[in-house]
Symmetry: none
């Protein structure tokens, strides 16, 4: 499909704003029977939905809960099942680590082992982040033949390991036996191309155990999600657009960078993001703007906070509309229902506003209302072609 | 899917009429908020829709605007992404050129080059069609070794080039550099199978330049869309039906012929087409009947003319129903919204009437009403199996 789009994409002067509310969709609260979106007062989104074509996005497949990686790849038009990004790479993107082509990245946990070398705590009692920082400094002193060893703390017991050098390959088994009372596993190469990499990683693990011997509870490490940067078709080339990403959180900046968008410097609030949008309005054709608060509240299981996050977002809609975009799209990367306090598998509401979006009966931006919109239930990676069409940036297929 | 249908198709005495309104779907006019279909008085179509199952057809994919070729292949049950027909072939079909298996067809433009051989007008100032006719006569005098050279004028600066002979292959790059101030490109073979063909075409181009040297502004040619007739499964065999096409315009006759339908001789008006339908009623099981006026008005951006074209079509419905078909289907090959003045990507309304079509709440034949029909949003190439089922011409799948 991306190959088809690439052949049909044409340039135009139209401008597109894609607003992604992280964890947008929700579920009804049992007491009221109304979801977060149905409970919030969203006058600006309702007005926009009334003038838009509405529907629901499914990012992966029925019943599949997307992580942030697949969720955003879907929004960007990449089938998340065809373009998979390993956990190590996502973790590195999440701390805005400058991962390069050929680097091998893994997600690391500090853990606790007993005198026999058996795991007694897979997360080392969730050590404080500053302890994690000190211990990753020890791991950085490890030397391996022919490759550079890079170790970055993340949060609490989590870190990222990156090996940089020639001949590295992904496709290694994980070292976490996923059970207490067992020893960490050595990694195994899942194909012969990864044999050399497996040797290097196993050497790293042996050295790490030595350097952490006196650091209980964080006296050992577990590694998983070994992967390299995937080669993704570049968004600006596929769609023939100058594309910019505006996101306060590193993970989303990383995902946008992964597909080749320009990542704009912005502040920590959504007001900062909108100011950034206004500043760079002339320089780009396409803007991806990320709003985090909805997901955060949902993950915390805080229904009221999610309602408030939605209402706060709603107040920015007039300012966004005033900039004069030709196409405005509002959706999200996955649902985060407060009653689940986690990502959910539910389809995510979407609205597409343009001069050519067509008549649609939906007058409210909610899960239930969007279910009867004219866009129907759409694979998320089909949204970008639809956006491009509304921006008059696709020529016809066949004569 | 066609292979499956072929194994399930059974004969019956039921009759099917598929009415294709070219460019059927539209968009609301901003002044009224109502589309062409919503503005037109369509009492007969409304009555038919009330007794039908309704829905929307999507011919290619969300956001993709179908050309007439993919649009009709979809209606005939062929996935337009799996069965692609090159521009040269479509252009030849469009003038009802007798293209044969193995022929190589290309779309040609006369263009203007300066003394240095650089393009100054990619369409030669859109020369009059009679000039085009005279210049194609010059090109017909070109001789190439081992193949016949056929050149046919189309309209204004457009012509069709066909090479006929053994060993020809499609898969050549186009010669249009898509920019002024550049020289026309030689064709390149996109695979080694096309090397010989590329040599022949390049020899033709050199000769064409000589023969057109004094014919400014049409003193050079550009060629693209090189392709051969695709081998499509034959419609009458796949569906086990005697199938006839009734269309006043050559392009649609050509597309029907491409899939193996009998193309019936008819006059230039829709009344002529309906008379042809009545005449041949006994001889066929399936009739594809094409109505062009809706597309023409939409392409002209003439909202009122499209409304009138719909209303004119509506008056023929009683006569069609009187013939006693078992299944009547009304849809189109793509949308042509008047506000776009071009083909659009919007899904196209469809109604399927038969004794077995099922209860459906839709009582008007419009984009918005059909969006809540029981057929839902259907890939166009899934319509034919549905039609066959309604005609009791498909046996069950699995015991």
């Amino acid at each position: 499909m991306l190959d088809l789009i690439r052949t049909l994409a044409v340039e135009n002067t139209t401008k597109i704003v894609l607003l992604s509310l992280d964890g947008l969709g929700g579920l009804p609260r049992p007491e009221t029977g109304r979801s977060e979106m149905e409970s919030a007062r969203l006058p600006n989104l309702s007005a926009l939905a009334s003038a838009s074509a509405c529907g629901l996005l499914r990012h992966v497949a029925p019943g599949i809960t997307p992580g942030s990686g697949p969720g955003h790849l879907g929004l960007f038009g990449y089938d998340p099942l065809a373009f998979q990004v390993g956990r190590g790479v996502l973790e590195a993107l999440g701390i805005e680590f400058d991962l390069r082509a050929g680097d091998l990245a893994a997600r690391g946990n500090f853990c606790t082992i007993d005198a026999a070398g058996l795991i007694t705590d897979r997360r080392a009692g969730r050590i404080a982040t500053d302890v994690c920082v000190r211990l990753t400094e020890r791991l950085r002193t490890i030397r391996l033949p022919g490759v550079e060893v890079l170790v970055e703390p993340v949060k609490e017991h989590r870190f990222v390991l990156v090996l940089r050098g020639p001949g590295l390959a992904g496709g290694l088994s994980e070292t976490d036996p996923q059970a207490l009372g067992k020893a960490p596993l050595p990694v195994r190469a899942l194909s012969s191309a990864a044999n050399h990499t497996a040797e290097l990683v196993n050497a790293f693990i042996i050295e790490a155990r030595k350097r952490l011997a006196d650091a209980a509870p964080a006296n050992m490490i577990l590694l998983r999600g070994f992967d390299q940067l995937p080669e993704l078709p570049r968004f600006p080339e596929v769609y023939a657009m100058r594309a910019a990403a505006i996101a306060a959180y590193p993970m989303y900046r990383g995902l946008a960078k992964l597909v080749g968008m320009d990542v704009l410097k912005t502040g920590g609030t959504f007001a900062d993001e909108i100011a950034t949008l206004r500043e760079h309005w002339a320089a780009y054709d396409f803007f991806f703007v990320h709003y985090k608060d909805t997901d955060k509240a949902g993950e915390d299981g805080d229904f009221d906070a999610k309602v408030q996050a939605l209402e706060r977002f709603d107040t920015f809609i007039p300012a966004i509309r005033e900039m004069g975009a030709d196409v405005i799209v509002v959706s999200g990367d996955h649902a985060t229902p407060s009653v689940l306090a986690a990502h959910g598998w539910q389809p995510v509401p979407v609205l597409v506003w343009s001069r050519y979006c067509g008549a649609d009966p939906v007058t409210a931006f909610t899960e239930r209302a969007c279910a009867s919109g004219t866009l129907g239930l759409l694979p998320a990676h089909h949204l970008m072609p639809l956006i491009m069409a509304n921006a008059l940036r696709l020529t016809k297929f066949g004569a």
